[in-house]
């Protein structure tokens, strides 16, 4: 098991290097990349930073300062070397340490992601289980209809509608009120309950359907028939079924949260929550390459880390799974 984890960690390292390489290539090598320096032409990001009608030597100066005048493989090597020691460079815009900027934004994204995940689990699991157990009942049909509506509503639309009704019309929510949990728990909650729900609805609908499907499928298993044949009470039979039906949910949950920890761009943007997603939007609109790279590295780190955690947890839940 330990060996397995170590091997996975090494692979995680390779994955992150690859992710950095791809993102680096997009911005520094491919045509149109803000950091691309073509012969005889200034790189777009240096021009942008130099302001209106810049003198050519100022642009060259900026390029030199940012290291954009060096060969791209040197730039990549330098960046990679620093990134792997935890140094993500400095923002072109704010001159701030990217690592500090990301760390500063992380609590908001974590609050959003974990809060929303609690909401969708609290809706998805009970509703899915009850729908499966009361199959073809009014409740089942009702929840499946709701689930269909839920998965059909895009977050950007739902978010805007929510802001429109709860902020503009009803006035029970204020966009942009976010405060960290440690500073003002009440305001933290007041600023997050609506984004949680908006972000959770699609997943809640998805989980409801998945859990219902799993429970129905497991109910047809031979070992459930065995459980009944040996005379177990229906409650115990259901426990047997849920043990199998809910284990795959752990996998889904881990991966979904991993993705969200890299920033819920749309939700954070709509509700002005200063998280990783909003940081990414800001960085992209201002061609702030170190920040873009930094956010990408962090996001891929979370996805890879959650993958590993999910696999380890799964081995603990399913005795058939043993890693070696």
């Amino acid at each position: 098991m330990l060996q397995y984890v170590i091997r996975r960690l090494l692979w995680a390292f390779v994955m992150i290097v690859l992710v950095i390489a791809v993102v680096f290539a997009i911005f520094f090598v491919l045509p149109g990349g803000a950091g691309r320096k073509e012969d005889g032409r200034a790189s777009p990001v240096a021009v942008l930073m130099a302001g209106r009608n810049p003198r050519p030597d100022l642009v060259r100066d900026i390029e030199h300062r940012l290291g954009l005048d060096r060969p791209v493989h040197i730039q990549f090597g330098l960046y990679l070397g620093r990134a792997l020691t935890g140094d993500l460079g400095y923002s072109y815009q704010s001159q701030q340490d990217v690592r500090t900027a990301v760390a500063h934004r992380l609590p908001a994204t974590m609050s959003l992601a974990f809060g929303a995940s609690v909401v969708w689990l609290l809706i998805g699991i009970p509703l899915g289980v009850i729908s499966a157990l009361k199959r073809r009942s009014l409740l089942d049909r009702g929840s499946m209809l709701l689930a269909l509506i839920g998965v059909s509503m895009p977050t950007f639309w739902l978010g805007l509608m929510a802001v429109f009704f709860f902020d503009a019309r009803l006035g029970v929510y204020n966009v942009g009120d976010y405060a960290p949990l440690t500073e003002n728990p009440l305001l933290w909650f007041k600023s997050l309950w609506l984004p949680w729900i908006v972000l959770a609805i699609v997943s809640a609908a998805f989980y409801t359907r998945m859990v219902r499907g799993n429970v129905l499928e497991v109910q047809g298993e031979d070992y459930i028939r065995t459980a009944r044949a040996k005379g177990l009470r229906e409650r115990s039979v259901i426990r047997h079924a849920l043990r199998s039906a809910l284990t795959p949910v752990v996998t889904m949950y881990g991966l979904d949260v991993g993705i969200l920890l890299g920033g819920a761009i749309i939700t954070e943007r709509i509700f002005a929550i200063p998280g990783i997603g909003l940081l990414a939007v800001e960085a992209i609109t201002s061609s702030d390459l170190p920040t873009i790279l930094g956010v990408t590295v962090i996001a891929s780190f979370f996805v890879i880390a959650m993958n590993l955690i999910v696999d380890v947890v799964y081995a603990a839940l399913d005795p058939r799974v043993r890693y070696s």
């Binding site: 298993e221 031979d222 070992y223 028939r225 065995t226 459980a227 009944r228 044949a229 040996k230 005379g231 177990l232 009470r233 115990s236 047997h240 043990r243 199998s244 284990t247 839940l317 399913d318 005795p319 058939r320």
Partner: protein, 341 residues
Amino acid sequence: MSAETLLEVRDLHVSFPTPDGVVKAVDGLSFSVHRRETFGIVGESGSGKSVTNLTALGLIDRERAQVSGEVLFKGRDLLALSKEELRRVRGKELAMIFQDPFACLHPFYRVGDQIVEAILCHDDIPKKQAQQRAVDLLGAVGIPHPQDRFRDHPHQYSGGMRQRAMIAMALSHNPDLLIADEPTTALDVTVQAQILDLIDRIKNEFNIGVILITHDLGVVADVAQTVMVMYAGRAVELGSRDEVFDNPQHPYAWGLLESIPRIDQKGSRLIPIQGSPPSLIHVPPGCSFHPRCPHRFEPCDKDVPALADRGSGHPDACHLSVEDKRRIWNEREALRKKAVS
């Protein structure tokens, strides 16, 4: 047979309405099983042998199935019991093991715990005591090192050991009747023999009756005292093992016997039964076997032959006279032996 009658099925009908029509899985079935008897039910897939027993145990979806008739177990009609009453019977007085031991144990729970659970759901005893009983049961069905194996998960067991564990679980309350639904089908041949031996042994040790459901006449010939041949939801022949094997009356039984290799007729040809089992939605009129029967004559596609003794000494459901049957069976036997030489 003078032994106590454990199970008596009277005119059982089970059908399932489906969008394509009503599936008649069991159509007017009657038989009885006694203590210390192994009652073999033989038939092809879809002949209704499993549905009969799942119905008795209340393991079919009663909201979807239409069931009539009586299933008297020690005098009580199981079909009339409430769900809770039936649950108290299941696993305690009436136990069942299934075809695929790989799928029948819950993969996430330890084998021992699954047996303990079976014990505790009927007996209010301390857990320690139940665990000891489970270890003893595992030992009794021939699991080596039961103390250690108790803590294993099902995937750490071989197929034969899983079936043994299922049998241990079935025995945990000293049931009166054990229903074994194709208990050896998924196992290797050598393991099959061990499991059949085990079932035979526990029948005597635990003083129980056994219903052995199988499509394998060889299995029945080994261990059953009574044999019922089923076809399309009906019994077509019922008798002691010797009666059915030595003096078979029904053309379907002939076909089954001719399609298994026999050690005393080395080199003889295996003759398959022509055609395939009928759809249970559109069961052929009259004798449901008549479209596949080479000896059919004029009443066969009109009248359903009743299961009755037509002078052979045991009941069968075929319109042919006993003399014709004797003549035809002898001819077929002769033909088969001729092929040997």
